[in-house]
Assembly symmetry: C2
DNA sequence: ATGTCGTAAACTGTAGACAGTATGCGATTT
DNA sequence: AAATCGCATACTGTCTACAGTTTACGACAT
């Protein structure tokens, strides 16, 4: 017994490290990635490297064309809008279901993550590549509390890392942190009173609010990055 | 120029055929599928077969365990509930967005599909493995009319085939067809008047209604299939 | 000088062989 | 007889080599 978890395959490891490299910006958005390049970089053959790139595509972190190659996605403002719309739908539903099904223990964890004291079993056990901060912990916890496995996996497999890809480069506009905290409080309050409709609407409002903030950040970014020397 | 579309890879072809075989029931739910078996069946090497199985997993049609193998999913009633909840969220949002963005031409196509006269560009051009009937055409059209690429792909890549897997085995309860048609009419009416909130709610109501019907079918199926001789 | 054609290079797609791992059956022991 | 250990088997994971495709560069003709 070498670990509590089955030994990872090379493809698993390569995939995890490439995702991290992309999200952190080590491999920059829009850059082409060849199987050989990945294989050499991590000292494996083309097989696992190829598999990792396929998974990148499934995760929405890269696009592929047959017989041609893959490149890291480069999100436009329109892409971000699409992502936030999808997120609003999915997290809204997750929050509604959580209001119906959340356990007292899960509720406690959520309330703790509001104070930045989150316990993160998924990350600790290596089930996820996702390393949440306070906000991300919070959303993760609600997704789990929905007790809907498909929904949870859809969110963590396909949305959270891509959001992270962008969020890593973005910053909060002034006052957004406090605003977000208040919205989180409203969500937890709805969950505590087990009010599905209110919980869903609170989450959707939160994500729309986050989208408005992101739009601003994006405009600022693109307008300030051009005149840089 | 051999086709209007880039020549498919072997993995593409194998994947498409396996999906079809699973959905149709030729490969039955819950049965294990080995890479060798697929490779032999379609006369290719293990490479493309392996890739096809990976994609099955991404699509939610199979589950895999490292070093062990894959098996076709066998949906429980709980899995179906999860799927319908996810679908309610995503299609609800798709319908809301469609109400804001649908073109007159797209609206015409939808109205035609209500009469069973649908034009299906995606299927005709081979971009999808999905062969919709009237109902499925309808939902497909709304997903497309959302003009949200991520949402559209999430629905067609991850949800529709799995739903099809189940739907293929299910039947309509008496009166459900008429009920569904009325719900479709309500949705189109909301779209025509460009009313996002009403459109979303109409779609969500439709899917909840479909879920209630499915539950009944499921119970009937499982209770009648046991005493079969 | 410009456009077109052909060739070469780089990459992906596929095949086949080898290595490693999990499972199940059978032999052995208690 | 039951339980446990070990071996054989079947499968997945990985590597290497080859084939096919696409792009890009350069030579040639106009």
């Amino acid at each position: 017994m070498r670990d509590s978890v089955t030994r990872q395959t090379l493809a698993d490891q390569v995939f995890a490290r490439v995702v991290e490299a992309i999200v952190v910006g080590e491999i920059e958005a829009g850059s082409p990635i060849s199987e050989n390049e990945i294989a050499l970089r991590f000292g494996v053959s083309r097989g696992p490297a190829r598999e990792a790139i396929f998974r990148l595509e499934a995760k929405g972190l890269a696009t592929r064309v047959a017989h041609f190659g893959a490149r890291v996605v480069d999100l436009t403002l329109d892409d971000l809008r699409s992502l936030f719309e999808l997120r609003e739908a999915m997290e809204g539903m997750a929050c509604r279901l959580a209001a119906e099904r959340i356990t007292d223990a899960e509720l406690v964890v959520l309330e703790e993550s509001l104070r930045g004291h989150a316990v993160r079993p998924e990350v600790a056990s290596g089930q996820s590549y996702y390393q949440p901060g306070g906000d991300q912990d919070f959303h993760f916890g609600i997704a789990r509390a929905s007790h809907n496995q498909r929904l949870f996996r859809a969110l963590s497999d396909e949305l959270y890392d891509v959001m992270r890809l962008y969020r890593f480069r973005s910053s909060l506009t002034p006052g957004r942190a406090i605003e977000a905290r208040n919205e989180h409080r409203a969500i937890v309050e709805a969950l505590r009173s087990r009010d599905p409709a209110r919980a869903e609407e609170a989450m959707r409002a939160h994500i729309r609010s986050s989208w408005r903030n992101t739009q601003t950040t994006f405009r600022t970014q693109t307008s300030t990055s051009e005149p840089r020397i």
